[in-house]
């Protein structure tokens, strides 16, 4: 069976959930082979987890040069690896880095690229949900091999344990790969909460929160539900919450099992980023707010009363 290359995303010695989704999807297309990029020694910590989800092979690309530059070296290594193993498909996460590597790869190989797919069938047909969730597109690569980036929370990760064979990969880099140097990496707000785009529960706050201080209500409910915190553009523009947590057209697209919108009216700009969530719950004082048009359950009321009461009720049931 032909290999399906999966580019691994990892952080702090842990494989990201999106990679487990990719491995699960890869098993329907061929034999999953995980490609790990990282500093020397970084692959060893990931081998167990990758094997648990079916990575029969691991290509370990480990060098300090990789972490010191932006994505260009990774695309160079992948292009070389693809030439060597002739995979059935190449899958990456639809993250900024995943898409950027894939974009470079597409040019290097003169190969089609399908981004933000929610599924990739064995015949290479991808499913994409576009225009703020209003349209479903089926598309195919017409030149080259299926090269796709998968939107987070599209596939339920299912274990299928194997013992991976680990092969080190060394690819010489050219000067063109080293044009963008990373001089500093700053970790902010790295708490115990799951990452916004990967979380199965997202609790978001909007203009209705009224202040940065009040966002602790959103954080409290998120923590009780084991979720991530998001914010509408109105809330981030008002400085209530940092921009990187913005959900919507100009921010993150999320597709969790549960999306809770607190004090968010549901303007199209926001809906574009959360419309494909499985279950949507909203609390808003305006009964006419458009968010209620998509909410599976909506409470018209004062969020400063409803949310603390809900938090208390969850604690009671725990």
């Amino acid at each position: 069976m032909a290999e399906v290359l999966v580019v691994v995303e990892h952080s702090g010695g842990a494989v990201k959930k999106l990679t487990l989704e990719l491995l699960t999807l890869a098993r329907t297309l061929g034999e999953p082979a995980a490609v790990v990029f990282g500093a020397p020694g970084s692959a060893a910590a990931l081998t167990g987890r990758l094997g648990e989800y079916g990575a029969a092979k691991i290509y370990a690309v480990q060098s300090d040069e990789l972490t010191g530059y932006l994505v260009a070296p990774k695309a160079t290594v992948l292009a070389s690896l693809i030439g060597d193993v002739a995979p059935a498909a190449v899958l990456l996460g639809s993250t900024q880095e995943g898409k950027e590597i894939a974009g470079r790869l597409a040019v290097k190989l003169d190969n089609g690229l399908l981004t933000d797919v929610s599924d990739l069938a064995a015949d290479g047909t991808a499913t994409q949900v576009v225009f703020a969730g209003s349209t479903i597109v089926r598309s195919k690569v017409s030149r080259g091999l299926p090269l796709a980036t998968l939107r987070p929370n599209s596939v339920a990760p299912v274990p299928a344990p194997v013992t991976p064979a680990v092969s080190p990969v060394e690819v010489p880099l050219s000067d063109a790969d080293k044009l963008v140097k990373v001089v500093d990496r700053v970790v902010e707000q790295k708490g115990s909460r799951p990452e916004l785009t990967e979380a199965s529960v997202v609790v978001s706050g909007g203009r209705g929160l009224g202040s940065a201080e009040n966002f602790k209500l959103v954080e409290e409910l998120a923590d009780l539900l084991g979720g991530a915190v998001g914010a509408s553009r109105a809330a981030t523009d008002s400085g209530f919450y940092p921009h990187q947590f913005q959900v919507g057209q100009t921010g993150k697209t999320v597709s969790p099992q549960l999306y809770v919108a607190l004090g968010i009216s549901g303007a199209i700009q926001h809906r574009a980023g959360m419309q494909t969530s499985k279950t949507i719950v909203a609390v808003n004082k305006d009964a006419e707010a458009p968010i209620f048009e998509l909410a599976d359950f909506g409470v018209v009321g004062d969020l400063f009363k409803v949310v603390p009461q809900a938090a208390e009720e969850i604690r009671k049931r725990a």
Binding site: A106, D116, T135, V137, V186, K190, L258, A295, V299, E312
Partner: protein, 259 residues
């Protein structure tokens, strides 16, 4: 410093958007077409750099005749001139083919810096800066929330999932910007009047030395097989809080097994 800003005309993301049933491209007749919102931030950043460092700001787009409207909109903010790659054979081009055309146009302009919005609101693909950089062999610094220029060195602060990183490269380079980088100016009346007279050069595929079969549907590397409208979400239960709204909410979450 000579700067080229990439702009794109897109259907208004606030309105209903559709794909054409005949060829699965964006239906530009039914949509309200606007300058991609993120591009205004790229234009603003270019103008700020021009104010500080001098040089020329050129707007570049590829698109049908009506994309000229987006060029004018961008020129109203203050850039000096524009280049419009216009050719009937471009219709249906994929991202890979588009990057080939834009890279060829950029070669003729030979800028020190290319600025772009981090994404377009229609495709939201975010790959164009890296595709172009790959073709031109220049640096791509994407998703900037802050850009500083010191001689021939660019430093960019970019948001990451876990915080931010600081990256640096020498010019020539391409930088894409998010809407956190600045506050775009509104065109002044003077700017709007002046934009009507600014030069817009039209380039065809022949001008760029690209054969029609390398672009459009013929030269594209991916195809849309079909598209269907997704049924709109149905509104569910809506209750008005009469003192137990929070409890009712948790009861709903419990029936859905979230608590």
């Amino acid at each position: 410093m000579n700067i080229v800003v990439l702009v794109k005309q897109v259907p208004d993301s606030g309105a209903e958007r559709e794909l054409r049933s005949d060829d699965q491209t964006i239906d530009r007749s039914s949509a309200n077409n606007v300058l991609n919102e993120m591009d205004e931030y790229a234009v603003e950043e270019a103008l700020k750099l021009q104010e500080a460092l001098g040089g020329e700001v050129t707007v570049l787009t590829m698109g049908p005749e009506q994309a000229g409207e987006a060029i004018r909109k961008a020129l109203q903010m203050g850039p000096d001139k524009a280049v419009h790659v216009l050719d009937g054979a471009l219709h249906g081009s994929c991202a890979v083919a588009t990057s080939k055309v834009l890279a060829a146009a950029l070669r003729t302009l030979n800028p020190d810096l290319v600025l772009a919005g981090a994404e377009s609101t229609d495709g939201r693909v975010q790959v164009m800066p890296h595709m172009i950089a790959e073709r031109l062999g220049i640096a791509a610094l994407t998703g900037a929330r802050k850009l500083t220029v010191d001689g021939g060195t660019l430093t960019v602060e970019r948001q990451t999932e876990e915080g931010y990183e600081v990256v640096t490269a020498a010019t020539p380079a391409i930088v894409s910007v998010w809407d956190t980088i600045n506050e775009p100016r509104y065109p002044s009346l003077k700017g709007i009047m002046a934009a009507k007279k600014k030069p817009v050069q039209t380039l065809s595929l022949a001008d760029l030395g690209i054969s029609p079969d390398e672009v459009g549907f013929a030269g594209s590397t991916s195809t849309v097989v079909e598209s269907t409208k997704r049924p709109p979400r149905q509104a569910g239960t809506k209750v008005t809080d009469s003192g137990d709204g929070g409890v009712q909410l948790v009861e709903f979450l419990a029936t859905e097994r979230f608590v």
